[in-house]
């Protein structure tokens, strides 16, 4: 059985982990002990004696252990047991002997009885030997006796009598044989008695129990060893000071003197030792056996966990004299258990996370769907709505009476409001879905501020002062997404104006050190690096302040939330979509900045946003002064680029003051532009040489106003053929200034322009002009206009032809249509600019422009002067001025081209 178990264990321990010895097998310095430390049991162990016993595993204090055995119940019970067993065995032997004796006695008795009978028989025979027939019965009796006797004495030989029955010879013979038998029987009896005596003698000599007891003890010990030999068990006895008296299966390197008489703490060092000691003490004190799992972390055997059983030991008087303890190594089990627990825990955590994730995914999906739906819906609404607004605008160009026109204006402005709302929503979802792309362009912050304020001033119908204040240290030229920044500024300014009824609204710019939130914000670094330039970056803080109604503190938190306004009352009173600030915030954050607000009710609010910009180098500045100018047709005045303060008074008060040092005019820009601009220009040219800029600025200002109010479909403002259906309802419905200006227009005569022609013509030599235009009618009209202005020009029908023409000869000015077949104006301009920079048409060739024509003239390299390219745009969204600048154009004329616009442009670029 055991053997089978052992082999089983060795051969197919598939599911059971190999149970290595509790202690390491190769512990240094274990040689002397190890040689006796047989790890495997002998193969065949049917009898206990054949088991090889590793005696040395046990270590005992031989002096004190016997004493212990004598003094404790456990010890004495063992001895008692052994004694009892011996006594029982002696009893048994005595009983056996007695039984044998009994049998022998019985046999003797029988033998004697038989002898007696034979004698009696013999007597009878001698008395009446003839009387045999009479004694038939007796012979029967005798026969019966004989039979009985033979039954009793099994194995006895039958007495063979050869002589004839009932003769004298017969009887003699019989008596003789019987005598012999008796003799034999007596002899046997004697032998038996002898044997009995002998047996009794040996019994006496065997009576000393020591040998047997030793044998028994050995067996018991052997049995224990046999069972415990490979078990990961250590057991021992410790006295009440917890000093070891006995230990079984101690750690191999420890010697007797290392353990016996010592406590755990003295033997081992490390984690768990103290705990086990305390536990043992506890058991000793409480007097109650108990179990505990303790993990040891000792230098000696590393990390092992033992399940320890400790029981108190009492002497016969019932006093505690120590403890027995048994430890089973359960490290693997504990590890497994812990692993299981951990797995279970992990599992639970994973499950929780999974469900959480599923929830989140679900929510996200829902949100995405909702957003997607919003975007889709917005788009779906926008399409028919632009149809409605478009048609309404067409309708407004027809003959209408006053009331109809008013109704129509309301209709258009409402439609525009809805369009704006939808555009805002689309903007928002663009930012949120990450579709919004930022562009890095150079721009002048001062101009942007000035521009935004100018634009705001245009539609201002309150008595407010708009001011801009830019600190000196703010760079003249920075790189950023000027479109978005303008969008934010415009939004904040229009908000400020909306909620301010008196006082002022302004923009303040200053440079600040890098804010703390940005230093770990890699996003903004990325945003800046997109540019790929190595300029230093600068953080500019922009405050948009007002002296308006302010925002109550409790409304501040939801201010930047979508569709939220400070209160429902405000929403009704002031209108608006409630999306503006949310968009601003998102845009600012997209650019790596921060938008905050401070406000005091009735005193005003300040919206502050800080953004990082790259500083464009001074070199770039001088080179590209024109290219990235944010102003339309604007030639910066010498002081303008560095000017730090602007102020705009409302148009109502007919005061328009530019804080510039040279110009301070009190006039209505509308009038100036629409009335007789040429005259004005000439007048100013004579006087200051600066007025051109002023005039153009004003014209630009008008364009910007249109642009900012998103009047892409708006008929030409200058036409005056009807009230301008501007998007801003207020400017449409009640601007007296604009109706005034319309009436002014009727007085102006185009002929005035013509009168000035000769002067212009005289001052200008014949320049080379290239008109790039695909529309025959446009060409025809432009040609006629040019003729009137005294210019001639070459014609190219598309971008490719333009490039070919520019390659072929030197031009002073290019008028470029934006939307053309084959190669549009924007691309053509980019290619021309690339040519100017590199001196080769490689970029154009790459773009697929016919190379042969270009190669021929490859050496005809132009001067490094920048060729002025004027865009002719249809003023649609797709052909925005911003895009023209971005593609390297210098300025633009909105279509349809008028004589006046053309002349202004030519005058500006051809001297």
């Amino acid at each position: 059985m055991v053997c089978e178990m052992e082999t089983d264990h060795q051969i197919d321990e598939m599911d059971v982990e190999v149970l290595s010895s509790m202690w390491p097998e190769d512990v240094g310095g274990t040689e002397p002990d190890n040689q006796f430390n047989v790890e495997k049991p002998a193969g065949d162990s049917d009898t206990l004696k054949e088991v090889d016993i590793a005696e040395k595993r046990t270590m005992a204090d031989l002096k004190r252990l016997p004493e212990l055995m004598n003094t404790t119940d456990q010890g004495s019970s063992q001895l008692t047991n052994l004694v009892k067993q011996w006594e029982y065995m002696q009893d048994h032997a005595v009983r056996l002997l007695r039984e044998e004796l009994k049998i022998l006695t019985k046999q003797r008795e029988e033998a004697e009885a038989k002898e007696l009978k034979i004698i009696e028989e013999h007597n009878f025979e001698t008395e009446e030997p003839e009387n045999v027939p009479v004694l038939d019965e007796s012979s029967d009796l005798f026969r019966r006796f004989k039979e009985k006797k033979s039954d009793a004495l099994v194995g006895r030989k039958r007495i063979e009598v050869d002589e004839e029955f009932d003769t004298v010879a017969y009887w003699k013979q019989k008596a003789l044989s019987l005598e012999k038998m008796l003799e034999a029987s007596t002899e046997r009896e004697r032998r038996l008695i002898e044997k009995l005596n002998e047996s009794l003698k040996t019994m006496e000599s065997h009576s000393a129990p020591v040998e047997e007891l030793t044998q028994n003890l050995k067996r018991a010990e052997g049995f224990l060893h046999f069972i415990l030999q490979n078990a990961p068990i250590v057991m021992g006895h410790q006295d009440k000071d917890l000093r070891y008296l006995f230990i079984y299966n101690k750690f191999p390197t420890l010697r007797e003197h290392d353990i016996l008489g010592k406590t755990d703490v003295e033997i081992f060092h490390g984690g768990g030792v103290k705990e086990s000691e305390d536990f043992k003490r506890e058991v000793l004190e409480k007097g109650k056996a108990s179990k505990r799992e303790i993990t040891f972390e000792t230098d000696l055997f590393g990390s092992k966990t033992f399940l320890i059983y400790v029981e108190p030991v009492y002497n016969k008087a019932g006093e505690k004299i120590g403890i027995n303890y048994m430890g089973m190594e359960v490290t693997d089990q504990v590890r497994k258990r812990e692993k299981m627990a951990k797995l279970r825990e992990d599992n639970a955590v994973r499950k929780a996370m999974e469900s959480e994730l599923t929830k989140t995914i679900h929510i996200t999906e829902e949100t995405m769907r909702a957003k997607q739906m919003l975007a889709t819906m917005s788009h779906e609404i926008r399409s028919p709505l632009s149809g409605v607004v478009g048609m309404a605008e067409i309708l407004s160009t027809t003959k209408l009476d006053k009331e109809q026109r008013q109704l129509l204006n309301v209709m258009i402005s409402s439609g525009d409001l809805v369009l704006q709302l939808i555009n805002d929503i689309l903007d928002l979802s663009k930012v949120e879905s990450g579709v919004m792309k930022l562009e890095a362009t150079k721009f002048r912050p001062r101009e942007v501020v000035k521009h935004v304020l100018q634009t705001a001033a245009a539609s201002l119908k309150k008595d407010l002062t708009l001011e801009g204040n830019i600190a000196d240290e703010v760079p003249i030229l920075v790189v950023g997404d000027v479109l978005r920044i303008r969008q934010i500024l415009t939004n904040l300014i229009s908000n400020a104006i909306k909620f301010t009824h008196q006082g002022k609204v302004g923009i303040k710019l200053k440079v600040i050190p890098e804010p703390s939130f940005a230093s770990d914000n890699t996003l903004n670094a990325d945003a800046q690096e997109q540019n790929g330039m190595a300029e230093t970056s600068v953080w500019i803080r922009c405050d948009v302040y007002d002296t308006g109604i302010g925002i109550p503190e409790n409304a501040l938190p939801c201010l930047f939330k979508k569709y939220m306004q400070a209160s429902a009352d405000h929403a009704r009173k002031y209108g608006g979509t409630g999306l503006g600030l949310a968009i601003c915030k998102q845009l600012v954050e997209l650019m790596g900045g921060q938008l905050t607000v401070t406000s005091q009710v009735n005193l005003g609010s300040t919206f502050t946003f800080i953004l990082p910009y790259k500083v464009a180098t001074a070199n770039d500045h001088s080179d590209d002064q024109e290219e990235f100018s944010d102003m339309v047709d604007h030639q910066p005045e010498p002081d303008d680029t560095t000017e730090g303060y602007f102020q705009f008074k409302p148009l109502l008060g007919s005061i328009y003051s530019n804080g510039g040092p040279v110009i301070s005019n009190n006039f209505l820009p509308h009038k100036v532009m629409l009335n007789s601009p040429v005259k004005l220009i000439n007048g100013f040219v004579d006087n200051t040489g600066q007025s051109e800029a002023v005039q153009v600025e004003n014209g630009d200002y008008m364009d910007e106003a249109r642009h900012e109010t998103r009047s892409g479909h708006c008929p030409e403002y200058e036409n005056g053929n009807g009230p301008c259906p501007s998007k801003e309802s207020e400017s449409c419905s009640s601007s007296q200034a604009s109706s005034e200006m319309e009436s002014e227009l009727t007085v102006s005569s185009p002929r005035e322009d013509v009168k000035t022609e000769p002067e212009v013509r005289e001052t200008i030599k014949q320049p080379n002009i290239l008109l790039v235009e695909d529309n025959k009618i446009n060409i025809m009209v432009a040609k006629s206009m040019m003729k009137q202005l005294g210019y001639t020009f070459d014609i190219a029908n598309n971008g490719v032809e333009a490039i070919t023409a520019i390659n072929g000869s030197s031009y002073d000015l290019v008028l470029m249509d934006v939307c053309m077949p084959v190669l549009d104006g924007l691309k053509a301009t980019r290619l021309i600019r690339a040519y100017e920079e590199s001196g080769t048409w490689d970029a154009a060739v790459e773009a697929g422009v016919d190379t042969k024509k270009l190669e021929n003239k490859q050496l005809h390299v132009r001067s490094t002067n920048r060729l002025p390219i004027i865009a002719m745009t249809a003023n649609t969204l797709a052909e925005s001025s911003e895009e023209c600048y971005a593609n390297g154009m210098d300025s633009f004329i909105s279509k349809p081209v008028t004589l006046q616009k053309l002349k202004e442009c030519l005058q500006k670029y051809l001297h």
Binding site: K399, N721, L745, I777, K787
Partner: protein, 154 residues
């Protein structure tokens, strides 16, 4: 007397075209460009416009009647027509083209069809009006009169 009346009616007629929004100030630009060296400039341009527009409208009708409308073909036509009409001051045609283009952008076939009708309508209106205008002018010239300078007195 008859000539004066004709001149007056020409003026009134022209004025009505502006008031109805059929023409805008760009047309005045054309008239300004017409001088002794180029006496028929306006009618030349307008005639060119008619030729061009007839062709474009024809192309547009064909394109939009296709099973699958290729908006990449449609849009340039509309753009062209918008540019031309804008250049001669055919304001209502131009405005209709603006709307037309938004539908092209949205690839809205239905809307494009509607817009084409609108554009055609506006185009025939302006064509009709301008032809009448030229007839009046011719009559005046034939009667030995001078075409009065246009003024925008409204």
């Amino acid at each position: 007397m008859e000539l004066v009346q004709m001149q007056k009616s020409l003026q009134d007629y022209t004025k009505s075209l502006f008031l109805e929004g059929v023409l805008d100030s760009q047309f005045l630009q054309l008239q300004q460009l017409q001088d002794e060296s180029n006496p028929d400039f306006v009618s030349q341009v307008v005639t060119l416009f008619f030729q061009d527009s007839d062709r474009i409208l024809n192309d547009l009708s064909l394109s939009l009647d296709q099973q699958v409308v290729d908006f990449k073909k449609v849009d340039p036509h509309v753009h062209q027509l918008k540019g031309s009409s804008s250049s001669i001051g055919a304001q209502r045609v131009k405005n209709a083209c603006v709307v037309f283009r938004t539908f092209c952008e949205q690839q809205n076939v239905e809307g494009c069809h509607r817009c084409l009708q609108q554009v055609k309508q506006e185009y025939y209106l302006v064509k009709n009006r301008l032809e009448t205008l030229f007839k009046l002018e011719q009559q005046i010239v034939a009667s030995g009169g001078v075409i009065p300078a246009m003024e925008l007195g409204f």
